[in-house]
């Protein structure tokens, strides 16, 4: 939403953090909004079901570099699934969230991955598989191993979290941030290697942009 080709943005100057769009996807009530709320506002509370999409921003400071996340928190109900491609268009990262106490939500996350694969080229978007609600360990239906294996087989990052206990929440987003910056640097490096490669690796429209560039 913020990255525009051609239109100069006030305040976008050298030194401003890069903006990356991150979408939260997953079944209903797996904790997408709770993860966002915990991460952005350090709060955990009962949240109304998300209708449509909710938006957050957060600046991540990684020491040497910083970036700004535009977080698109989508509604999880199946009915809203069909409009979701509107939300993940142009995304740089996606968190596929499931509830470790609900096998069906894990299966659903895998389906989301298929949708993403249809929309994006391989490697175009950073995807993290997130198993949430580890605080409910007694009701667990999806083991850590299952999650990890699936993520590995698909080349996704993987983490388990508890939005309620604020366990590993910041870590998930930081991991995404680091991965995004690494990819950005790599692309930058390749870009500098010459015209031929430049053409091949050119950032697709609507994706990846350092305001500072």
């Amino acid at each position: 939403m913020a990255q525009v080709d051609g239109a100069p943005r006030p305040g976008a100057a050298l030194g401003q953090p890069c903006i990356f769009k991150l979408v939260l996807l997953g079944s209903g009530s797996v904790g997408k909004s709770s993860l966002a709320l915990q991460y952005v506002k350090n709060d955990f509370k009962s949240i109304l079901p998300t209708v449509g999409c909710a938006f957050f921003t957060k600046v991540v400071d990684l020491g040497a570099a910083s970036l700004k996340f535009e977080i698109w928190d989508t509604a999880g109900q199946e009915k809203y699934h069909s409009v979701c491609h509107l939300y993940f268009r142009g995304a740089n990262a996606a968190l596929l969230v499931y509830d470790v106490t609900r096998k069906d939500s894990f299966c659903k996350a895998q389906q989301w991955l298929k949708d993403l694969e249809e929309e994006f080229h391989p490697g175009e978007v950073v995807v993290v598989l997130v198993g949430n609600k580890t605080d409910l360990h007694q009701e667990r239906q999806v083991t850590f191993e299952e999650g990890r294996e699936f993520a590995e087989s698909k080349g996704l990052l993987f983490m388990e979290t508890s939005a309620k206990l604020n366990h590993q929440v910041t870590e998930v987003f930081s991991a995404v941030a680091r991965e995004l910056l690494q990819r950005e640097e790599k692309e930058e490096g390749q870009r500098q290697q010459g015209d031929a490669r430049l053409a091949l690796n050119e950032t697709p429209p609507g994706r990846g942009r350092c305001c500072a560039r």
Binding site: M1, A2, Q3, V4, D5, A7, G28, S29, V40, K41, N42, D43, F44, K45, S46, I47, L48, P49, T50, V51, G52, C53, A54, F55, T57, K58, V59, V60, D61, S66, K68, A75, G76, Q77, E78, K79, Y80, S82, V83, L86, Y87, R89, G90
Partner: protein, 457 residues
């Protein structure tokens, strides 16, 4: 400046008053861990003015440069910022010039020469009279007395009442309306649109607005209808409870699972739904489940619990609420949403309205590219008719104003035909009241016409 809860490491964290809505867990501002976390994330903070009551500056030195800034919420929660190394003196200038803020002078300070404390409170924005609707001041809130004057002896609702026509058998309330002899003295829709409905009679008036009761119905007929509808409601519920195991599995997966998750997190801060094991939450749940049986094509969409909860809290009776909800659903965008063209149409209207009335903002959206004009951030506003964008009392006023279908602006014949024809779908009326305060600036009257047909109450 140094703020105890702030460091310049990052920006854009929100400083929100913990709203009382849906809080199962009380906010813990003073927890050391929390303060520490905030320290890391707060550089810039925002306060929701809707939740803010006052801003106070307490000076701790003679030069009035150090001290504390205290932000108070309406619920008397406080956020304190410490200025140990000066800078606090810069704030009064800013606040004094800020139009949303007014300095309030504290009584005990009038004697003292030196300032120790300054207080600012939030000024509610007031539209200049040139921007308000010309009829705005003509109406008062619909209170009990006014409502009774709209009911004739049989209990039928009359849109207009004229004082000289008041029947001797209808008791005249203490409020005899402005200007005896003025004709007409009261229009129901105008009163609801401009003044709202007194909370005490909402439960009685809403069923009319939601078309559960017709205006022509007599009190007697309404009682009969209630009995009849209660029976129908029981039958719907029976149908739900007598599903085959297979049907029930499908129903559970498509509807009940989500409803169960949602009702326990809808409007729980409202006194009516508060507390564990609250039977009203169970009523809300049954209404939504029964609705999905009654109208399987719509079933349940997230957001519907937001719509039903306030109705139940006002109408109280489960069956009556159900039928009011049925009426409401016929007039919302949920009818075929969220995937469809209805939403697209609404957003198209909204884009047009913006273009006509707030060109600069429209151009800003254009400059953001495709995503901007798609206005995804407005979906929820339209779906829930602003329920979550305003404090509840204000949101319900908006609802009532919408439901009143008050014709507020001249609609040219052309446009009226255009809109009344193709756009008869009632979801369109969601946007209807918006431009009441948007006068056509260029004299062409373009603004308001976009606004859709007005349907008789």
């Amino acid at each position: 400046m140094t703020c105890s809860t702030s460091s310049p490491s990052s920006v854009d964290a929100h400083l929100q008053f913990p709203d009382s809505s849906g809080l199962l867990q009380p906010p813990r501002w003073d927890e050391p861990q929390r303060a520490c976390a905030l320290e890391q994330i707060c550089g810039v903070f925002r306060v929701d003015l809707g939740h803010m009551r006052s801003l106070r500056l307490f000076f701790s030195d003679e030069a009035c440069t150090s001290g504390q800034l205290v932000v108070a919420s309406r619920e008397s929660q406080y956020k304190v910022f410490h200025f140990h190394h000066g800078g606090l003196d810069k704030l009064p200038d800013v606040l004094q010039q800020w139009k949303y803020c007014a300095e309030t002078h504290l009584k005990d300070q009038q004697v003292a020469d030196e300032k120790t404390c300054m207080q600012f409170s939030i000024r509610r924005p007031k539209l200049p009279s040139s921007e308000t609707h010309p009829e705005e001041s003509m109406y008062r809130r619909l209170d009990v007395a006014a409502w009774l004057r709209h009911l004739n002896a049989l209990g039928q609702v009359e849109e207009e009442y004229k004082l000289r026509k008041v029947r001797p058998d209808v008791p005249a309330g203490p409020d005899s309306g402005p200007g005896v002899g003025a004709v007409p003295t009261g229009r129901l829709r105008g009163a609801i649109f401009f003044g709202g409905i007194d909370v005490s009679i909402r439960g009685e008036v809403w069923p009319f607005l939601l078309r559960y009761y017709s205006h022509e119905s007599t009190a007697e007929e309404r009682e009969a209808l209630r009995v009849q509808k209660r029976k129908e409601y029981a039958e719907i519920q029976q149908k739900r409870l007598s599903m085959t195991p297979e049907e029930h599995r499908a129903f559970w997966r498509n509807v009940q699972f989500t409803v169960d998750k949602d009702v326990v997190r809808t409007d729980r801060s409202n006194q009516f739904f508060r507390g564990e094991g609250n039977p009203n939450v169970e009523s809300m749940r049954r209404i939504l489940l029964n609705y999905a049986v009654y109208n399987p094509a719509i079933g349940y969409s997230q957001g519907m619990s937001d719509l039903v909860a306030p109705i139940l809290a006002e109408v109280l009776d489960e069956s009556d609420t159900f039928w009011c909800f049925v009426g409401l659903m016929q007039n919302t965008i949920f009818v075929s949403s969220p995937r469809d063209e209805d939403m697209e149409k609404q957003l198209l209207y909204l884009r047009e309205l913006l273009r006509l009335t707030h060109l600069r903002f429209y151009q800003h959206l254009v400059s953001l590219g495709e995503d901007g004009l798609q206005m995804l951030f407005c979906h929820r506003w339209l779906l829930l008719c602003f329920k979550r964008e305003f404090p509840e009392a204000e949101a319900l006023r908006i609802w009532e104003a919408c439901w009143a279908h008050y014709q507020h602006a001249p609609v040219t014949t052309n446009q009226r035909e255009r809109h009344c024809g193709a756009e008869q779908d009632a979801s369109a009326h969601m946007l209807e009241p918006v431009p009441a305060r948007l006068p056509p600036r260029d004299g062409s009257g373009k603004g308001p016409e976009i606004l859709l047909p007005h349907q008789p109450l």
